[in-house]
């Protein structure tokens, strides 16, 4: 399994747990507002869960940036590479 695939699996597990969906439903195009639980409050819950798991510092600037699975994975890949 490649590093990016492992990253996707970690992200998918957190997204699925946060929103009560199956990990297989977490595709890269899944985004804020696309499913009912991923509303504004759910969005913060997700980002806090990701912050705890990956150890990055969640700031207000990231809130409107990390609004899709793809954007989250891209950011976390950069973060992990640092």
């Amino acid at each position: 399994m490649t590093g990016f695939a492992q990253l996707h699996d970690r992200v998918a597990t957190i997204v699925a747990d946060t929103f009560g969906i199956k990990a297989a439903e977490v595709v890269d195009d899944l985004a804020y507002g696309a499913i009912a639980p991923w509303d504004s409050v759910g969005h913060l819950d997700l980002l806090v869960a990701l912050e705890r798991s990956f150890g990055f510092a969640l700031t207000s600037d990231l809130i409107p940036r990390l609004t899709s699975v793809r954007a989250i994975e891209t950011y976390l890949a950069d973060f992990e590479a640092q």
Partner: protein, 398 residues
């Protein structure tokens, strides 16, 4: 070291600077014996002013203060952004505006947060509302009349008990009980601004004082499908938010008046509506020469809800506030707000569009007493010195 009637509470960690005003405004809600609160010492200390009854309860009060701080301490700093700035260099009123309004009997305080407006301020409020009714007309808003009281079940459904319990007000009436009525009639007295009555006098509340005008519309539209897929409503309504020791002059009333516009429809429609109000209000405030700016903001959520909601509101610019300059205080006052609720109210109340999707909502609220207060702070109470549109529209008494 605490002095008489002052309690210094040392924080376990410094409170971040951006949280100070939020924490200070909340501290007066946590105990009836706190009359004022300030964060000092670089955020390391809460300085609480206590009424005499609080002196022997210091430990309890300190514990509550630390609990409150613990609930908001780890919040993400909301992104504050100024979106518009309009500087008009108003002359100011040249004196203590609160004293002037009291001396001229233009503001008569009944109890904390409850004020009677005299003829000039009332004319000003009426004129301001007339200009806002014109604004609503340009957006083809339909009029609604909403009551001052509101159904508790509606507030519960809209999460008001969870998000804003500290500011709720209840409409109390006496129990339907002849014995209780007779006891009340014989014994009830006022003690300062309190009613001193037998404890079992009051029935369980069956209505609350409306905390937001637009809530009524969501109750009205519950379980409905919008036939045309869109709706624009305007209403003039009373709002009630008990702000404890924060209530002061016309800046922060318990009982205030709001001209509201509400948009219900698709996300694109309600956001376009909010933008249109912002544009028209910009023209109106320019005509009034109101010194102000517009910035991202957040609501005053209670306790830990603040941590979840405030950063989101600011980050997605869901709430914008118009803040007018108060020259006599070198500060600003929120006189209007433009809000996008996404599908929160539509989902809670099951309001749908013709295609079956959940309706989104947005609203704009203009606080009339606050607008009037900001204008007299900037231009004084002499109508001759008023911006032309208001001078022409207001029917000034001699």
């Amino acid at each position: 070291m605490s002095t008489a009637r002052t309690l210094c509470v040392a924080c376990e960690r410094p409170i971040p600077r951006w949280l100070w005003s939020d924490v200070e405004s909340r501290l007066v809600f946590i105990d009836e014996d706190i009359t004022a609160a300030r964060i000092v010492d670089g955020g390391n200390t809460m300085l609480l002013t206590l009424c005499p009854e609080g002196d022997d309860r210091r430990q309890t009060i300190a514990g509550r203060a630390l609990r409150l701080v613990g609930a908001v301490q780890n919040s993400i700093e909301p992104r504050a952004r100024i979106l518009e700035e309009h500087r008009t260099s108003p002359p100011g009123c040249g004196c203590d505006i609160d004293a002037l309004l009291a001396e001229s009997r233009e503001v008569h305080r009944e109890v904390a947060g409850v004020a009677v407006l005299g003829p000039r301020l009332s004319s000003l409020v009426t004129a301001l509302d007339a200009t806002l009714v014109d604004l609503a007309g340009k957006l083809e808003a339909v009029p609604f009349t909403f009551p001052a009281l509101i159904d508790p079940a509606l507030l519960e459904r809209l999460h008001a008990f969870q998000y804003f319990p500290h500011t709720l007000g209840f409409a109390a009436h006496l129990r339907r009980d002849l014995d209780a009525l007779e006891r009340f009639s014989a014994a009830a007295r006022t003690d300062g601004d309190r009613v001193d009555a037998p404890a079992d006098s009051f029935a369980a509340p069956r209505a609350l004082l409306t905390p937001a005008v637009c809530y009524h519309l969501y109750g009205y539209l519950a379980n409905q499908t919008l036939g045309e897929g869109r709706l624009v409503v305007t209403s003039l309504g009373k709002c009630f938010r008990h702000e404890a020791a924060n209530m002061a002059s016309l800046e922060r009333l318990w009982d205030f008046t709001v001209r509201e516009l509400v948009f219900v429809g698709s996300p694109e429609f309600v956001l376009a509506g909010r933008d249109a109000v912002q544009r028209l209000a910009r023209e109106l405030f320019a005509a009034l020469a109101l010194d102000h700016h517009v910035e991202t903001a957040h609501d005053h959520f209670f306790g830990a809800e603040f941590r979840r909601q405030a950063p989101i509101q600011s980050a997605f610019e869901l709430k914008l506030e118009v803040r007018a300059t108060l020259p006599h205080k070198d500060t600003t006052l929120a006189v209007a707000s433009y809000n996008y609720h996404q599908d929160f109210f539509g989902r809670r109340m099951n309001i749908r569009l013709p295609d079956g999707t959940i309706a989104h909502t947005a609203c704009a609220g203009f606080g009339l007493e606050r607008l009037a207060y900001a204008l007299v702070s900037q231009f004084g109470i002499d109508p001759e010195k008023w911006p032309t549109p208001l001078r022409h529209q207001a029917k000034w008494p001699a």
